[in-house]
Symmetry: C2
Subunit: 328 residues, 2 copies
Protein backbone atom coordinates (compact mmCIF):
# COMPACT_ATOMS: atom_id res chain seq x y z
CA UNK A 1 0.00 0.00 0.00
CA UNK A 2 1.00 3.60 -0.60
CA UNK A 3 -0.03 6.32 1.84
CA UNK A 4 0.08 10.09 1.75
CA UNK A 5 -1.28 12.85 3.99
CA UNK A 6 -2.99 15.88 2.48
CA UNK A 7 -2.97 19.40 3.90
CA UNK A 8 -5.64 19.88 6.55
CA UNK A 9 -6.45 22.04 9.55
CA UNK A 10 -5.56 18.99 11.62
CA UNK A 11 -1.88 18.68 12.57
CA UNK A 12 -1.80 15.09 11.35
CA UNK A 13 -3.18 15.90 7.89
CA UNK A 14 -5.85 13.86 6.04
CA UNK A 15 -4.89 10.27 5.21
CA UNK A 16 -5.22 9.03 1.61
CA UNK A 17 -4.25 5.88 -0.20
CA UNK A 18 -2.32 6.54 -3.41
CA UNK A 19 -2.64 4.24 -6.42
CA UNK A 20 0.33 2.15 -7.47
CA UNK A 21 0.83 4.37 -10.55
CA UNK A 22 0.57 7.51 -8.32
CA UNK A 23 -2.17 8.92 -10.57
CA UNK A 24 -5.06 8.65 -8.12
CA UNK A 25 -5.80 8.94 -4.44
CA UNK A 26 -8.75 8.25 -2.21
CA UNK A 27 -9.55 9.39 1.31
CA UNK A 28 -9.78 6.63 3.90
CA UNK A 29 -10.87 8.72 6.89
CA UNK A 30 -13.68 6.27 7.66
CA UNK A 31 -11.01 3.61 8.33
CA UNK A 32 -8.29 5.83 9.83
CA UNK A 33 -8.40 9.64 9.68
CA UNK A 34 -4.62 10.05 10.04
CA UNK A 35 -1.64 7.85 9.30
CA UNK A 36 -0.73 7.74 13.01
CA UNK A 37 -4.17 6.20 13.73
CA UNK A 38 -3.57 3.53 11.11
CA UNK A 39 -0.16 2.72 12.65
CA UNK A 40 -1.64 2.49 16.15
CA UNK A 41 -4.40 0.10 15.00
CA UNK A 42 -2.48 -1.59 12.17
CA UNK A 43 -3.79 -5.14 12.54
CA UNK A 44 -7.39 -3.91 12.54
CA UNK A 45 -7.13 -1.41 9.70
CA UNK A 46 -4.75 -3.25 7.39
CA UNK A 47 -7.41 -5.54 5.80
CA UNK A 48 -9.99 -2.81 5.00
CA UNK A 49 -7.24 -0.47 3.75
CA UNK A 50 -5.89 -3.24 1.53
CA UNK A 51 -9.37 -3.76 0.05
CA UNK A 52 -9.68 -0.05 -0.78
CA UNK A 53 -6.15 -0.05 -2.23
CA UNK A 54 -6.98 -2.93 -4.55
CA UNK A 55 -10.16 -1.28 -5.78
CA UNK A 56 -8.23 2.01 -6.26
CA UNK A 57 -5.67 0.22 -8.43
CA UNK A 58 -8.47 -1.45 -10.38
CA UNK A 59 -10.01 1.96 -11.07
CA UNK A 60 -13.08 1.28 -8.96
CA UNK A 61 -12.59 3.20 -5.72
CA UNK A 62 -15.51 5.50 -5.05
CA UNK A 63 -14.49 9.13 -4.54
CA UNK A 64 -11.01 8.75 -5.98
CA UNK A 65 -9.38 11.85 -7.44
CA UNK A 66 -6.16 12.88 -9.20
CA UNK A 67 -3.22 12.66 -6.77
CA UNK A 68 -1.35 15.96 -6.44
CA UNK A 69 1.91 15.71 -4.44
CA UNK A 70 1.90 19.51 -4.10
CA UNK A 71 -1.06 19.12 -1.73
CA UNK A 72 0.88 16.78 0.55
CA UNK A 73 2.31 17.33 3.98
CA UNK A 74 4.79 14.76 5.30
CA UNK A 75 3.21 11.28 5.53
CA UNK A 76 3.49 11.75 9.32
CA UNK A 77 3.49 15.55 9.82
CA UNK A 78 4.53 14.79 13.42
CA UNK A 79 5.55 11.53 15.02
CA UNK A 80 6.30 10.08 18.46
CA UNK A 81 10.07 9.89 17.84
CA UNK A 82 12.54 10.69 15.05
CA UNK A 83 15.80 8.80 15.47
CA UNK A 84 18.42 9.22 12.80
CA UNK A 85 21.30 6.81 12.40
CA UNK A 86 24.54 7.18 10.53
CA UNK A 87 24.49 3.75 8.94
CA UNK A 88 26.64 4.44 5.86
CA UNK A 89 30.12 4.29 7.33
CA UNK A 90 31.67 5.59 4.11
CA UNK A 91 30.19 8.98 5.01
CA UNK A 92 31.59 9.13 8.55
CA UNK A 93 34.93 7.70 7.37
CA UNK A 94 35.26 10.53 4.84
CA UNK A 95 34.34 13.16 7.45
CA UNK A 96 36.93 11.80 9.90
CA UNK A 97 39.64 11.53 7.24
CA UNK A 98 39.15 15.10 6.03
CA UNK A 99 39.34 16.57 9.52
CA UNK A 100 42.09 14.19 10.63
CA UNK A 101 39.95 12.89 13.47
CA UNK A 102 40.13 9.38 14.91
CA UNK A 103 37.10 7.25 14.13
CA UNK A 104 34.46 7.32 16.91
CA UNK A 105 34.68 4.34 19.29
CA UNK A 106 32.95 1.11 18.21
CA UNK A 107 31.95 2.76 14.93
CA UNK A 108 31.82 -0.55 13.07
CA UNK A 109 29.78 -2.45 15.66
CA UNK A 110 27.49 0.09 17.38
CA UNK A 111 25.36 2.40 15.20
CA UNK A 112 25.65 6.14 15.79
CA UNK A 113 22.22 7.73 16.21
CA UNK A 114 20.81 11.05 17.33
CA UNK A 115 17.35 12.00 18.55
CA UNK A 116 15.76 14.67 16.38
CA UNK A 117 12.70 16.88 16.78
CA UNK A 118 9.56 15.09 15.59
CA UNK A 119 6.79 17.64 16.21
CA UNK A 120 7.02 19.74 13.07
CA UNK A 121 8.09 17.93 9.88
CA UNK A 122 8.14 19.55 6.44
CA UNK A 123 6.23 18.30 3.40
CA UNK A 124 7.91 17.46 0.08
CA UNK A 125 7.35 20.88 -1.49
CA UNK A 126 7.42 23.13 1.58
CA UNK A 127 9.76 26.08 1.43
CA UNK A 128 12.53 25.71 3.98
CA UNK A 129 12.76 28.91 6.02
CA UNK A 130 16.07 29.23 7.85
CA UNK A 131 17.62 32.18 9.64
CA UNK A 132 21.13 32.54 8.17
CA UNK A 133 23.16 31.28 5.20
CA UNK A 134 26.23 31.59 7.45
CA UNK A 135 24.92 28.55 9.36
CA UNK A 136 26.01 26.34 6.43
CA UNK A 137 22.67 25.15 5.00
CA UNK A 138 22.87 21.59 3.68
CA UNK A 139 20.54 18.81 2.56
CA UNK A 140 20.95 15.12 3.51
CA UNK A 141 19.23 12.49 1.38
CA UNK A 142 18.20 9.42 3.36
CA UNK A 143 15.88 6.46 3.53
CA UNK A 144 13.89 5.62 6.65
CA UNK A 145 11.36 3.29 8.21
CA UNK A 146 8.23 3.89 10.28
CA UNK A 147 7.73 1.28 12.97
CA UNK A 148 4.82 -0.26 14.78
CA UNK A 149 5.18 -0.64 18.55
CA UNK A 150 8.66 -1.95 19.43
CA UNK A 151 9.35 -3.59 22.81
CA UNK A 152 12.39 -2.58 24.86
CA UNK A 153 15.38 -4.86 24.29
CA UNK A 154 14.21 -6.25 20.93
CA UNK A 155 16.82 -8.08 18.82
CA UNK A 156 17.67 -6.91 15.31
CA UNK A 157 15.75 -9.67 13.51
CA UNK A 158 12.54 -9.14 15.50
CA UNK A 159 13.03 -5.39 15.10
CA UNK A 160 12.97 -5.72 11.32
CA UNK A 161 9.54 -7.34 11.61
CA UNK A 162 8.32 -4.13 13.35
CA UNK A 163 8.82 -2.12 10.13
CA UNK A 164 5.44 -0.97 8.83
CA UNK A 165 6.35 1.63 6.19
CA UNK A 166 9.35 2.92 4.22
CA UNK A 167 9.98 6.61 3.61
CA UNK A 168 12.41 8.94 1.82
CA UNK A 169 13.87 11.80 3.85
CA UNK A 170 15.72 15.10 3.56
CA UNK A 171 17.39 15.70 6.92
CA UNK A 172 18.12 19.45 6.70
CA UNK A 173 21.34 20.37 8.47
CA UNK A 174 23.18 23.52 9.54
CA UNK A 175 26.82 22.54 9.21
CA UNK A 176 28.38 25.54 10.94
CA UNK A 177 26.50 24.61 14.13
CA UNK A 178 27.27 20.89 14.14
CA UNK A 179 30.92 20.76 15.28
CA UNK A 180 30.25 22.72 18.48
CA UNK A 181 27.26 20.55 19.34
CA UNK A 182 29.25 17.38 18.72
CA UNK A 183 32.07 18.63 20.97
CA UNK A 184 29.70 19.17 23.91
CA UNK A 185 28.78 15.47 23.70
CA UNK A 186 25.09 16.40 24.00
CA UNK A 187 24.52 15.92 20.25
CA UNK A 188 22.78 17.81 17.45
CA UNK A 189 20.04 20.28 18.30
CA UNK A 190 20.35 23.69 16.60
CA UNK A 191 22.24 21.94 13.76
CA UNK A 192 19.11 19.99 12.83
CA UNK A 193 16.11 22.11 11.85
CA UNK A 194 12.82 20.52 10.70
CA UNK A 195 13.24 17.36 8.61
CA UNK A 196 11.38 16.88 5.29
CA UNK A 197 9.76 13.82 3.74
CA UNK A 198 8.81 12.63 0.26
CA UNK A 199 5.03 12.51 -0.18
CA UNK A 200 4.45 8.76 -0.18
CA UNK A 201 5.10 6.21 2.58
CA UNK A 202 4.89 2.62 1.37
CA UNK A 203 4.55 -0.85 2.82
CA UNK A 204 7.73 -2.86 2.17
CA UNK A 205 6.00 -5.19 -0.32
CA UNK A 206 5.59 -2.23 -2.71
CA UNK A 207 9.36 -2.30 -3.28
CA UNK A 208 9.42 -5.97 -4.23
CA UNK A 209 13.02 -7.13 -4.43
CA UNK A 210 14.24 -3.58 -3.76
CA UNK A 211 13.43 -4.12 -0.06
CA UNK A 212 16.06 -6.71 0.79
CA UNK A 213 18.42 -7.40 3.74
CA UNK A 214 16.67 -4.68 5.72
CA UNK A 215 17.78 -2.03 3.24
CA UNK A 216 16.18 0.04 0.45
CA UNK A 217 18.00 -1.23 -2.65
CA UNK A 218 17.51 1.88 -4.77
CA UNK A 219 19.59 4.84 -5.86
CA UNK A 220 18.72 8.23 -4.40
CA UNK A 221 19.02 10.75 -7.23
CA UNK A 222 19.91 14.19 -5.88
CA UNK A 223 19.89 17.43 -7.89
CA UNK A 224 20.97 20.82 -6.50
CA UNK A 225 19.63 23.79 -8.47
CA UNK A 226 18.89 21.43 -11.34
CA UNK A 227 22.45 20.05 -11.48
CA UNK A 228 23.13 16.38 -10.81
CA UNK A 229 24.80 15.97 -7.42
CA UNK A 230 24.80 12.21 -6.96
CA UNK A 231 22.77 9.01 -6.95
CA UNK A 232 24.25 6.83 -4.17
CA UNK A 233 22.71 3.41 -3.59
CA UNK A 234 20.80 2.54 -0.40
CA UNK A 235 22.11 -1.02 -0.36
CA UNK A 236 25.49 -0.03 1.09
CA UNK A 237 24.15 0.59 4.63
CA UNK A 238 26.63 -0.96 7.09
CA UNK A 239 23.80 -1.48 9.59
CA UNK A 240 20.37 -2.59 8.37
CA UNK A 241 17.17 -1.02 9.65
CA UNK A 242 16.54 -3.89 12.08
CA UNK A 243 19.89 -3.15 13.73
CA UNK A 244 19.08 0.56 13.90
CA UNK A 245 15.67 -0.08 15.49
CA UNK A 246 17.18 -2.51 18.01
CA UNK A 247 19.80 0.10 18.92
CA UNK A 248 17.07 2.69 19.50
CA UNK A 249 15.04 0.30 21.68
CA UNK A 250 17.94 -0.81 23.92
CA UNK A 251 16.56 0.97 27.02
CA UNK A 252 13.12 2.20 25.95
CA UNK A 253 10.09 0.96 24.07
CA UNK A 254 9.16 2.74 20.84
CA UNK A 255 5.53 3.67 20.30
CA UNK A 256 3.85 3.10 16.92
CA UNK A 257 4.81 5.73 14.37
CA UNK A 258 8.45 6.05 15.42
CA UNK A 259 10.67 7.01 12.45
CA UNK A 260 14.22 5.64 12.14
CA UNK A 261 16.51 7.09 9.47
CA UNK A 262 19.56 5.67 7.69
CA UNK A 263 21.68 8.80 7.74
CA UNK A 264 23.07 10.28 4.52
CA UNK A 265 23.17 7.70 1.74
CA UNK A 266 26.84 7.32 0.84
CA UNK A 267 28.80 4.94 -1.40
CA UNK A 268 32.46 4.00 -1.52
CA UNK A 269 32.46 4.45 -5.32
CA UNK A 270 33.24 8.11 -5.99
CA UNK A 271 31.26 7.91 -9.24
CA UNK A 272 28.01 7.73 -7.25
CA UNK A 273 28.40 11.33 -6.07
CA UNK A 274 26.94 12.39 -2.72
CA UNK A 275 23.60 13.00 -1.04
CA UNK A 276 24.83 15.98 1.01
CA UNK A 277 27.13 18.92 0.36
CA UNK A 278 29.25 18.28 3.47
CA UNK A 279 30.44 14.98 1.99
CA UNK A 280 31.35 16.59 -1.33
CA UNK A 281 33.34 19.21 0.59
CA UNK A 282 35.32 16.69 2.62
CA UNK A 283 36.17 14.80 -0.58
CA UNK A 284 37.54 18.09 -1.92
CA UNK A 285 39.59 18.56 1.26
CA UNK A 286 40.98 15.03 1.00
CA UNK A 287 41.83 15.50 -2.68
CA UNK A 288 43.14 19.07 -2.75
CA UNK A 289 43.41 20.32 0.81
CA UNK A 290 40.58 22.81 0.45
CA UNK A 291 36.88 23.10 -0.36
CA UNK A 292 35.59 24.42 -3.68
CA UNK A 293 31.89 23.92 -3.09
CA UNK A 294 29.93 26.23 -0.76
CA UNK A 295 26.76 25.44 1.12
CA UNK A 296 23.28 26.51 -0.02
CA UNK A 297 22.16 30.10 -0.58
CA UNK A 298 18.65 31.50 -0.10
CA UNK A 299 16.72 30.71 -3.30
CA UNK A 300 18.58 27.44 -3.90
CA UNK A 301 16.58 24.28 -4.49
CA UNK A 302 17.19 20.58 -3.99
CA UNK A 303 15.38 17.65 -5.62
CA UNK A 304 15.55 14.05 -4.45
CA UNK A 305 14.00 10.95 -5.99
CA UNK A 306 14.71 7.28 -5.43
CA UNK A 307 14.99 5.15 -8.58
CA UNK A 308 15.59 1.49 -9.27
CA UNK A 309 18.85 0.31 -10.84
CA UNK A 310 17.40 0.76 -14.33
CA UNK A 311 16.31 4.33 -13.57
CA UNK A 312 12.61 3.69 -12.96
CA UNK A 313 11.28 6.11 -10.30
CA UNK A 314 10.47 4.47 -6.99
CA UNK A 315 7.17 4.79 -5.14
CA UNK A 316 8.11 7.56 -2.67
CA UNK A 317 7.62 10.49 -5.06
CA UNK A 318 9.81 13.57 -5.19
CA UNK A 319 11.21 15.93 -2.58
CA UNK A 320 11.64 19.32 -4.26
CA UNK A 321 12.33 22.19 -1.87
CA UNK A 322 13.60 25.73 -1.96
CA UNK A 323 15.49 27.45 0.85
CA UNK A 324 14.24 30.90 1.82
CA UNK A 325 15.21 33.44 4.45
CA UNK A 326 13.22 33.16 7.66
CA UNK A 327 11.43 36.35 8.67
CA UNK A 328 9.99 36.33 12.20
CA UNK B 1 -3.64 27.04 38.51
CA UNK B 2 -2.51 23.51 39.27
CA UNK B 3 -3.02 20.73 36.71
CA UNK B 4 -2.70 16.96 36.82
CA UNK B 5 -3.56 14.15 34.43
CA UNK B 6 -5.28 11.02 35.68
CA UNK B 7 -4.84 7.50 34.31
CA UNK B 8 -7.06 6.87 31.31
CA UNK B 9 -7.30 4.70 28.22
CA UNK B 10 -6.31 7.80 26.29
CA UNK B 11 -2.56 8.33 25.88
CA UNK B 12 -2.88 11.91 27.08
CA UNK B 13 -4.69 11.01 30.31
CA UNK B 14 -7.69 12.88 31.76
CA UNK B 15 -7.09 16.52 32.69
CA UNK B 16 -8.01 17.72 36.19
CA UNK B 17 -7.50 20.92 38.12
CA UNK B 18 -6.03 20.35 41.58
CA UNK B 19 -6.92 22.62 44.51
CA UNK B 20 -4.26 24.89 45.95
CA UNK B 21 -4.09 22.69 49.08
CA UNK B 22 -3.82 19.55 46.85
CA UNK B 23 -6.77 17.97 48.69
CA UNK B 24 -9.29 18.07 45.85
CA UNK B 25 -9.46 17.75 42.10
CA UNK B 26 -12.11 18.26 39.46
CA UNK B 27 -12.31 17.10 35.87
CA UNK B 28 -12.33 19.85 33.26
CA UNK B 29 -12.86 17.72 30.16
CA UNK B 30 -15.66 20.00 28.97
CA UNK B 31 -13.09 22.82 28.68
CA UNK B 32 -10.05 20.77 27.61
CA UNK B 33 -9.96 16.95 27.77
CA UNK B 34 -6.14 16.77 27.95
CA UNK B 35 -3.43 19.15 29.10
CA UNK B 36 -2.01 19.32 25.57
CA UNK B 37 -5.38 20.65 24.34
CA UNK B 38 -5.32 23.35 27.02
CA UNK B 39 -1.80 24.37 25.98
CA UNK B 40 -2.77 24.52 22.30
CA UNK B 41 -5.79 26.74 23.04
CA UNK B 42 -4.41 28.53 26.09
CA UNK B 43 -5.85 32.00 25.52
CA UNK B 44 -9.33 30.55 25.02
CA UNK B 45 -9.34 28.05 27.87
CA UNK B 46 -7.44 30.02 30.50
CA UNK B 47 -10.44 32.14 31.66
CA UNK B 48 -12.94 29.25 32.10
CA UNK B 49 -10.24 27.09 33.74
CA UNK B 50 -9.42 29.93 36.13
CA UNK B 51 -13.10 30.21 37.06
CA UNK B 52 -13.31 26.49 37.88
CA UNK B 53 -10.04 26.72 39.84
CA UNK B 54 -11.38 29.54 41.99
CA UNK B 55 -14.57 27.69 42.74
CA UNK B 56 -12.55 24.53 43.53
CA UNK B 57 -10.44 26.46 46.04
CA UNK B 58 -13.61 27.95 47.55
CA UNK B 59 -15.01 24.44 48.02
CA UNK B 60 -17.79 24.95 45.49
CA UNK B 61 -16.70 23.07 42.35
CA UNK B 62 -19.36 20.60 41.28
CA UNK B 63 -18.08 17.04 40.94
CA UNK B 64 -14.84 17.61 42.87
CA UNK B 65 -13.27 14.62 44.56
CA UNK B 66 -10.28 13.78 46.78
CA UNK B 67 -7.04 14.19 44.80
CA UNK B 68 -4.94 11.01 44.75
CA UNK B 69 -1.45 11.45 43.24
CA UNK B 70 -1.19 7.65 42.92
CA UNK B 71 -3.81 7.89 40.15
CA UNK B 72 -1.68 10.34 38.16
CA UNK B 73 0.27 9.90 34.98
CA UNK B 74 2.75 12.62 34.02
CA UNK B 75 1.00 15.99 33.55
CA UNK B 76 1.87 15.55 29.85
CA UNK B 77 2.17 11.77 29.36
CA UNK B 78 3.68 12.59 25.95
CA UNK B 79 4.72 15.92 24.49
CA UNK B 80 5.88 17.43 21.20
CA UNK B 81 9.49 17.83 22.36
CA UNK B 82 11.57 17.19 25.47
CA UNK B 83 14.74 19.26 25.52
CA UNK B 84 16.97 18.99 28.55
CA UNK B 85 19.60 21.57 29.34
CA UNK B 86 22.56 21.38 31.67
CA UNK B 87 22.08 24.79 33.22
CA UNK B 88 23.78 24.22 36.58
CA UNK B 89 27.44 24.59 35.64
CA UNK B 90 28.57 23.36 39.06
CA UNK B 91 27.44 19.90 37.97
CA UNK B 92 29.36 19.85 34.68
CA UNK B 93 32.39 21.47 36.32
CA UNK B 94 32.51 18.65 38.89
CA UNK B 95 32.14 15.99 36.18
CA UNK B 96 34.98 17.51 34.13
CA UNK B 97 37.25 17.92 37.16
CA UNK B 98 36.80 14.32 38.30
CA UNK B 99 37.59 12.89 34.87
CA UNK B 100 40.32 15.42 34.17
CA UNK B 101 38.56 16.62 31.04
CA UNK B 102 38.74 20.13 29.63
CA UNK B 103 35.49 22.08 29.95
CA UNK B 104 33.32 21.87 26.81
CA UNK B 105 33.70 24.87 24.47
CA UNK B 106 31.64 27.99 25.28
CA UNK B 107 30.27 26.26 28.37
CA UNK B 108 29.66 29.55 30.19
CA UNK B 109 27.90 31.34 27.33
CA UNK B 110 26.04 28.67 25.31
CA UNK B 111 23.76 26.22 27.15
CA UNK B 112 24.35 22.52 26.63
CA UNK B 113 21.13 20.73 25.72
CA UNK B 114 20.09 17.33 24.43
CA UNK B 115 16.92 16.18 22.71
CA UNK B 116 15.19 13.39 24.63
CA UNK B 117 12.35 11.01 23.81
CA UNK B 118 8.98 12.61 24.53
CA UNK B 119 6.49 9.91 23.52
CA UNK B 120 6.38 7.80 26.67
CA UNK B 121 6.88 9.66 29.97
CA UNK B 122 6.51 8.04 33.40
CA UNK B 123 4.10 9.17 36.11
CA UNK B 124 5.22 10.08 39.64
CA UNK B 125 4.65 6.62 41.14
CA UNK B 126 5.30 4.40 38.10
CA UNK B 127 7.75 1.60 38.61
CA UNK B 128 10.85 2.14 36.49
CA UNK B 129 11.56 -1.03 34.52
CA UNK B 130 15.12 -1.15 33.20
CA UNK B 131 17.08 -3.99 31.66
CA UNK B 132 20.37 -4.14 33.63
CA UNK B 133 21.86 -2.78 36.87
CA UNK B 134 25.24 -2.89 35.09
CA UNK B 135 24.04 0.08 32.98
CA UNK B 136 24.55 2.33 36.03
CA UNK B 137 20.99 3.32 36.95
CA UNK B 138 20.78 6.87 38.28
CA UNK B 139 18.15 9.52 39.03
CA UNK B 140 18.47 13.21 38.14
CA UNK B 141 16.30 15.72 39.98
CA UNK B 142 15.40 18.74 37.86
CA UNK B 143 12.94 21.56 37.34
CA UNK B 144 11.39 22.29 33.96
CA UNK B 145 8.97 24.46 32.04
CA UNK B 146 6.21 23.69 29.54
CA UNK B 147 5.96 26.27 26.80
CA UNK B 148 3.25 27.65 24.57
CA UNK B 149 4.15 28.04 20.88
CA UNK B 150 7.63 29.57 20.51
CA UNK B 151 8.71 31.27 17.27
CA UNK B 152 12.07 30.45 15.69
CA UNK B 153 14.79 32.91 16.67
CA UNK B 154 13.07 34.20 19.82
CA UNK B 155 15.22 36.18 22.27
CA UNK B 156 15.62 35.05 25.89
CA UNK B 157 13.31 37.68 27.35
CA UNK B 158 10.46 36.97 24.94
CA UNK B 159 11.10 33.24 25.42
CA UNK B 160 10.48 33.56 29.15
CA UNK B 161 7.04 34.97 28.36
CA UNK B 162 6.28 31.71 26.48
CA UNK B 163 6.43 29.71 29.75
CA UNK B 164 2.96 28.36 30.56
CA UNK B 165 3.63 25.82 33.30
CA UNK B 166 6.38 24.70 35.69
CA UNK B 167 7.14 21.04 36.42
CA UNK B 168 9.41 18.85 38.55
CA UNK B 169 11.33 16.11 36.76
CA UNK B 170 13.31 12.93 37.34
CA UNK B 171 15.49 12.43 34.25
CA UNK B 172 16.38 8.74 34.60
CA UNK B 173 19.89 8.01 33.31
CA UNK B 174 22.05 4.98 32.54
CA UNK B 175 25.54 6.19 33.40
CA UNK B 176 27.51 3.30 31.92
CA UNK B 177 26.07 4.12 28.48
CA UNK B 178 26.60 7.89 28.56
CA UNK B 179 30.36 8.24 27.98
CA UNK B 180 30.28 6.26 24.71
CA UNK B 181 27.33 8.25 23.41
CA UNK B 182 29.02 11.54 24.31
CA UNK B 183 32.20 10.46 22.49
CA UNK B 184 30.32 9.79 19.25
CA UNK B 185 29.17 13.44 19.29
CA UNK B 186 25.62 12.28 18.48
CA UNK B 187 24.48 12.70 22.10
CA UNK B 188 22.47 10.71 24.62
CA UNK B 189 20.04 8.07 23.39
CA UNK B 190 20.31 4.69 25.13
CA UNK B 191 21.65 6.53 28.20
CA UNK B 192 18.30 8.29 28.66
CA UNK B 193 15.32 5.98 29.21
CA UNK B 194 11.83 7.37 29.87
CA UNK B 195 11.73 10.53 31.98
CA UNK B 196 9.39 10.89 34.99
CA UNK B 197 7.38 13.84 36.27
CA UNK B 198 5.87 14.94 39.58
CA UNK B 199 2.05 14.85 39.47
CA UNK B 200 1.25 18.56 39.36
CA UNK B 201 2.15 21.16 36.72
CA UNK B 202 1.56 24.72 37.86
CA UNK B 203 1.21 28.16 36.36
CA UNK B 204 4.13 30.36 37.45
CA UNK B 205 1.93 32.57 39.66
CA UNK B 206 1.37 29.58 41.98
CA UNK B 207 5.00 29.88 43.09
CA UNK B 208 4.70 33.54 44.01
CA UNK B 209 8.15 34.91 44.74
CA UNK B 210 9.68 31.44 44.28
CA UNK B 211 9.39 31.95 40.48
CA UNK B 212 11.95 34.71 40.01
CA UNK B 213 14.64 35.55 37.45
CA UNK B 214 13.36 32.73 35.23
CA UNK B 215 14.27 30.14 37.87
CA UNK B 216 12.41 27.97 40.39
CA UNK B 217 13.68 29.33 43.73
CA UNK B 218 13.07 26.18 45.76
CA UNK B 219 15.15 23.35 47.17
CA UNK B 220 14.69 19.92 45.61
CA UNK B 221 14.74 17.40 48.46
CA UNK B 222 16.02 14.04 47.26
CA UNK B 223 15.91 10.79 49.27
CA UNK B 224 17.37 7.50 48.07
CA UNK B 225 15.94 4.42 49.85
CA UNK B 226 14.65 6.73 52.56
CA UNK B 227 18.06 8.33 53.22
CA UNK B 228 18.61 12.04 52.64
CA UNK B 229 20.74 12.55 49.52
CA UNK B 230 20.57 16.31 49.04
CA UNK B 231 18.38 19.38 48.72
CA UNK B 232 20.13 21.65 46.18
CA UNK B 233 18.47 24.97 45.37
CA UNK B 234 17.00 25.75 41.93
CA UNK B 235 18.07 29.38 42.04
CA UNK B 236 21.69 28.59 41.12
CA UNK B 237 20.93 27.91 37.43
CA UNK B 238 23.65 29.61 35.34
CA UNK B 239 21.18 29.98 32.46
CA UNK B 240 17.55 30.88 33.17
CA UNK B 241 14.67 29.12 31.44
CA UNK B 242 14.22 31.95 28.92
CA UNK B 243 17.81 31.43 27.79
CA UNK B 244 17.27 27.67 27.51
CA UNK B 245 14.09 28.11 25.44
CA UNK B 246 15.79 30.65 23.16
CA UNK B 247 18.68 28.20 22.65
CA UNK B 248 16.22 25.45 21.68
CA UNK B 249 14.39 27.73 19.22
CA UNK B 250 17.51 29.04 17.43
CA UNK B 251 16.71 27.19 14.16
CA UNK B 252 13.24 25.74 14.75
CA UNK B 253 9.88 26.76 16.16
CA UNK B 254 8.61 24.93 19.23
CA UNK B 255 5.00 23.78 19.24
CA UNK B 256 2.81 24.24 22.32
CA UNK B 257 3.55 21.66 25.00
CA UNK B 258 7.31 21.57 24.51
CA UNK B 259 9.13 20.73 27.76
CA UNK B 260 12.51 22.31 28.58
CA UNK B 261 14.48 20.99 31.56
CA UNK B 262 17.13 22.59 33.76
CA UNK B 263 19.44 19.59 34.03
CA UNK B 264 20.42 18.19 37.42
CA UNK B 265 19.96 20.74 40.18
CA UNK B 266 23.43 21.34 41.61
CA UNK B 267 24.89 23.81 44.09
CA UNK B 268 28.44 24.98 44.73
CA UNK B 269 27.92 24.51 48.50
CA UNK B 270 28.80 20.92 49.31
CA UNK B 271 26.37 20.97 52.22
CA UNK B 272 23.44 20.97 49.78
CA UNK B 273 24.21 17.41 48.68
CA UNK B 274 23.31 16.28 45.17
CA UNK B 275 20.29 15.46 43.02
CA UNK B 276 21.98 12.58 41.18
CA UNK B 277 24.34 9.78 42.18
CA UNK B 278 26.84 10.57 39.41
CA UNK B 279 27.60 13.91 41.02
CA UNK B 280 28.11 12.35 44.46
CA UNK B 281 30.52 9.86 42.86
CA UNK B 282 32.62 12.51 41.11
CA UNK B 283 32.88 14.42 44.40
CA UNK B 284 34.24 11.22 45.95
CA UNK B 285 36.75 10.89 43.09
CA UNK B 286 37.87 14.49 43.54
CA UNK B 287 38.20 14.05 47.31
CA UNK B 288 39.69 10.57 47.58
CA UNK B 289 40.53 9.36 44.10
CA UNK B 290 37.85 6.69 44.06
CA UNK B 291 34.09 6.19 44.32
CA UNK B 292 32.43 4.77 47.43
CA UNK B 293 28.83 5.05 46.29
CA UNK B 294 27.37 2.64 43.72
CA UNK B 295 24.46 3.25 41.39
CA UNK B 296 20.92 1.96 42.01
CA UNK B 297 19.94 -1.69 42.43
CA UNK B 298 16.64 -3.30 41.46
CA UNK B 299 14.24 -2.63 44.32
CA UNK B 300 15.79 0.74 45.18
CA UNK B 301 13.54 3.77 45.45
CA UNK B 302 13.99 7.51 45.03
CA UNK B 303 11.79 10.31 46.38
CA UNK B 304 11.92 13.92 45.23
CA UNK B 305 9.97 16.91 46.50
CA UNK B 306 10.53 20.63 46.03
CA UNK B 307 10.22 22.74 49.17
CA UNK B 308 10.50 26.44 49.95
CA UNK B 309 13.42 27.81 51.96
CA UNK B 310 11.51 27.26 55.22
CA UNK B 311 10.76 23.64 54.33
CA UNK B 312 7.15 24.04 53.18
CA UNK B 313 6.38 21.57 50.35
CA UNK B 314 5.97 23.17 46.95
CA UNK B 315 2.99 22.68 44.64
CA UNK B 316 4.43 19.96 42.35
CA UNK B 317 3.78 17.00 44.66
CA UNK B 318 6.11 14.06 45.13
CA UNK B 319 8.01 11.79 42.75
CA UNK B 320 8.40 8.42 44.48
CA UNK B 321 9.59 5.61 42.24
CA UNK B 322 11.04 2.16 42.54
CA UNK B 323 13.43 0.57 40.04
CA UNK B 324 12.53 -2.96 38.91
CA UNK B 325 14.03 -5.42 36.46
CA UNK B 326 12.52 -5.24 33.00
CA UNK B 327 11.08 -8.52 31.74
CA UNK B 328 10.17 -8.58 28.05
Amino acid sequence: MKFASLKSKHKDGRLVLVSRDAAYAVEVGDIAPHLIDALERWDDVQPPLQAVYESLNAGGAEGSFAFDPAQCVAPLPRSPQWLDGSAFLNHSNLMDKAFNKPAPPLVETVPMMYQGASDDFLGPHNEVALPRVEDGIDFEGEFGVITGPVPMGVDAVSALACVRLLVQINDWSLRALGPHEMKTGFGFLQAKPSTAFAPVAVTPDELGDAWRDGRVQMRLHVHWNGQRFGEPHGGEMNFHFGQLIAHAARSRRLTAGCIVGSGTVSNVARSAGSACIAEQRVIEIIDSGKTHTGFMQFGDSVRMQACSADGVPGPFGVIDQRVVEYHP
